[in-house]
């Protein structure tokens, strides 16, 4: 403890270098934070997928519909607790840039399966009474400045014409990870007004009583509809989301890959700076040894300095990254979440402390073994 002032004085010796080294660490860890944020944004859907839910879609592809009559038949499969469905609306609010997903939902059953969302009871009641009603996720409120009672026009793309909806309520996620940048309205409204897909829905969600039966039930469902005009492909919500992620594939991989290489280059640079700082002090270390400092103590002093650089820099970098993510998504709604999680902050701090240790260990070992006579001769 009594050496803290000594370490402190050493840190202040070359203020510019101290600042630059801490700064490089901060930049590297900011970058690390940013890459994990991008990574989580891409893989988010996989993470939040419900373990007890299956997605049933048309075998051809997700854009092909399934008949509404399947609801009854799916509900009869043993092991199925409940069934709901949804359809993609894909409308445009004002301009194409204002993209957000709109789903026509089976309002009676949707929330019982997606239990991660909640709606205030009085708002729900209002929604159920209003055929043109809609619910908006809290993630959309700020973006468009909507409030309950607003009537909003959405231009149909798949379903032609101008559609108007009354905002009846706001749904919230029970955990911060939930995707609340969505817009829900009654499937009945869609079905009533548009004849092109009458009696057809986009996809089904099936909730299971026992998640371990998922594979068996998925197979049963697909066999049930095999050789019909509407064959199905059933998989767990997680596999479904992971499949999408694989299609996004390369872009994320390339970003993360390049970023990681650079991250470690930056850390190497920082490490070499630290080594230079120690080398410059060779004489001084020799003097300290002459005064009776043990090798271990010298090792400890230099290592402590290096870890402090790393830790302070890491904290600043991750802190700034956290602040940056609080500003919101720079791609304007294209990423579902833009958040630096606590787990990654902890990992980042761990990495920076470790790099601080690694960067300091070689120069401090050299210092520990330093031969006093050799070093003094250079003075």
């Amino acid at each position: 403890m009594k050496f803290i002032p000594l370490i402190w004085v050493n840190l202040k010796r070359k203020k510019m270098r101290t600042m630059l080294t801490i700064g490089s660490f901060a930049v590297a860890l900011f970058l690390f934070g940013l890459l994990t944020v991008i990574h989580s944004a891409f893989s988010h859907q996989v993470k939040i997928a419900g373990a007890d839910r299956l997605v049933v879609r048309n075998r051809i592809s997700l854009i092909m519909p399934l008949p509404i009559s399947y609801k009854q038949r799916l509900a009869q499969v043993s092991g199925v607790k409940s069934v709901t469905f949804g359809s993609w609306f894909g409308g445009v609010y004002q301009t194409e840039r204002n993209f957000f997903p709109q789903f026509a939902i089976d309002s009676e059953t949707y929330l019982s399966i997606f239990s991660e969302y909640s709606v205030a009871p009085e708002q729900w009641e209002l929604f159920m009474k209003d055929r043109q009603g809609c619910l908006i996720g809290e993630g959309l409120i700020e973006r468009f400045g909507w409030k309950i009672g607003d009537r909003i026009p959405i231009q149909g793309t798949i379903f032609p014409g101008l559609w108007e909806f009354n905002i009846c309520g706001i749904f919230k996620g029970k955990t911060p990870e939930s995707d609340t940048k969505q817009f829900w309205f009654h499937y009945k409204y869609l079905d009533e007004r548009d004849s092109s897909t009458k009696g057809l829905v986009g996809w089904y969600y099936v909730q299971l009583s026992d998640p371990s039966q998922a594979d068996r039930i998925a197979q049963t469902i697909d066999e049930m509809f095999a050789n019909s005009p509407y064959e199905t492909a059933t998989e767990t919500e997680k596999a479904f989301a992971a499949g999408f992620l694989k299609q996004m594939g390369n872009i994320q991989f390339v970003l993360i890959c390049i970023g990681s290489v650079i991250f470690f280059t930056l850390l190497l640079i920082t490490g070499s700076n630290m080594a230079i700082a120690v080398r410059e002090r060779t004489n001084e270390i020799a003097v300290m040894k002459t005064l009776g400092f043990s090798g271990i103590r010298i090792l400890f002093l230099i290592l402590a300095e290096s870890i402090i650089y790393a830790f302070v820099g890491g904290t600043i970098g991750l802190g700034l990254c956290k602040l940056y993510t609080l500003q919101g998504d720079p791609t304007n709604g294209m990423l579902i979440i833009f958040e630096l999680s606590h787990a990654y902050i902890a990992l980042g701090l761990g990495i920076s402390a470790m790099v601080g240790f690694l960067a300091g260990i070689i120069p401090s070992c050299l210092a520990m073994r330093l031969n006093i006579v050799d070093a003094m001769r250079r003075i």
Binding site: M16, R17, L20, T21, G23, S24, V27, A28, F30, L31, L34, L35, I38, R59, I60, S61, L62, I63, M64, G90, V92, E96, F99, Q155, G156, T157, I158, P160, G161, S196, P229, A233, A242, G243, F244, K246, Q247, M248, G249, N250, I251, V254, L255, I258, G259, V261, I262, T265, L266, L268, I269, S272, N273, I276, P330, T331, M334
Partner: protein, 390 residues
């Protein structure tokens, strides 16, 4: 009087370890910067070259992409009779009413599903899209369940082999040809006869999703557009094909650019720190040298100039190294799902001279910012104090 540049070059050589570290940092940043631009550029280019200024694409009014759209058979006939459409030597209008579906095929790389765009075209399709050529095999025979597969699609998706058979949509299809589309999005597509695909996707409904027409010249487009828009029997929107495809690239293009620039910007700051550090230690190690230069008559300004030059020299080496490292990425394939068409798209990194140039400019900006403060300090160094160190 200016200090000879050779002095700076020799000093960079003398301090090769710290110079190397600074050069490496700048090289890393420049290579990532170039890679990101090349990726965004490659993606956009793939869609841009899919469209031709001489072609127009017609969708239902309000639809933003082909899969959302629907055009009835009667409407396609009305469109075909509109003035301004190019005709072939038999007097037939060059028009291709198309059915566009998304069919899941397994990716060879991961074994998971990919949304592949499958396009039912008329037998005019090759005349309308002159960039598409059959490279192996032949074009499909109208009326038969035959497929022509894009050159990237055949590499990416499982079960696609020339003369092989593949089953989907209640039909067994024979792959009869491979088409080469110059790196455009058609290289990721699968083509077949529109009448057969229509049955697969729409049952007996008499409708298509889009109509692509070739105009007499690109200049006829405004007149053609007016004619179509004013026809009360049509509720459609007309776009020049090139504009349509450009819009379809917007979302992913922005995503790559915003995220990529963010990463490159942060790394740029890191590299500036690296350059600052190198230059500061170079200067403090050289204080007697600098003082000597001042003592023998070099002005403050020429010292300042000389050190900025040295930093820019480091940047030049770093930038050039970065560009050289990343050039092999040119032409590398990448793929992603294009959310705007909901389909999987293969594209290649496209590095252009402009991109390399902007990478070098970025390197010089980093070098300049990293060299300015240290150079200023060097120029203001008190001569007497520094010389005492001798």
């Amino acid at each position: 009087m200016a200090i000879p540049i050779i002095y700076n070059i020799r000093s960079v050589k003398a301090r090769y370890v710290s110079s190397f570290v600074a050069i490496l940092a700048i090289a890393g940043v420049v290579s990532v910067f170039v890679a990101v631009l090349a990726m965004a550029n490659g993606f956009r280019r793939t869609l841009m070259i899919s469209g031709s200024p001489q072609n127009a694409i017609i969708l239902r009014g309000g639809a933003t992409s082909e899969i959302e759209s629907s055009i009835s058979l009667e409407q396609t006939k009305i469109i075909g009779d509109t003035a301004g459409i190019q005709r072939d030597k038999d007097g037939k209008a060059l028009i291709s009413p198309e059915v566009v579906g998304i069919q899941c095929f397994k990716l060879r790389s991961s074994g998971t599903d990919a949304n592949v765009q499958i396009r039912g075209v008329s037998d005019n399709a090759l005349k309308i899209r002159s960039q598409v050529k059959i490279s192996r095999g032949r074009f499909f025979t109208p009326g038969l369940a035959e497929l022509v597969v894009g050159s990237n699609a055949i590499k990416s998706y499982d079960g696609m082999d020339l003369n092989g058979k593949i089953k989907f949509g209640g039909e067994e299809w024979t792959i009869v040809g491979i088409m080469e589309a110059g790196g455009s999005s058609f290289d990721s597509e699968v083509w077949c006869d529109h009448n057969i695909l229509r049955q697969t996707y729409k049952g007996n409904e008499n409708s298509f999703q889009s109509v692509t027409v070739q105009l007499e010249t690109p200049e006829t487009f405004p007149a053609f557009k007016d004619a179509i828009s004013l026809d009360p029997r049509l509720t459609v929107s007309v776009e020049q094909e090139i504009a349509y495809y450009e819009k379809r690239s917007e979302m992913v293009f922005t995503l790559i650019k915003v995220l990529g620039f963010l990463v490159a910007f942060v790394m740029g700051i890191g590299a500036i720190f690296g350059a600052l550090n190198t230059m500061y230690s170079a200067i403090s190690a050289r204080s007697t040298e600098i003082a000597t230069l001042r003592a023998i008559g070099f002005s403050e300004r020429s010292i300042l100039f000389s050190f900025i030059l040295e930093s820019l020299f480091l940047a030049l080496l770093g930038g050039a190294l970065g560009c050289i490292i990343i050039i092999p990425a040119h032409g590398q394939m990448a793929s992603t799902i294009n959310w705007q068409t909901f389909s999987h798209l293969n594209f290649s990194f496209a590095i252009s001279t402009e991109i390399l140039l902007s990478g070098m400019i970025f390197a010089f900006v980093m070098g300049f910012l990293g060299g300015l403060l240290p150079a200023w300090r060097a120029s203001r160094m008190p001569v007497a104090v520094a010389l005492r160190g001798l």
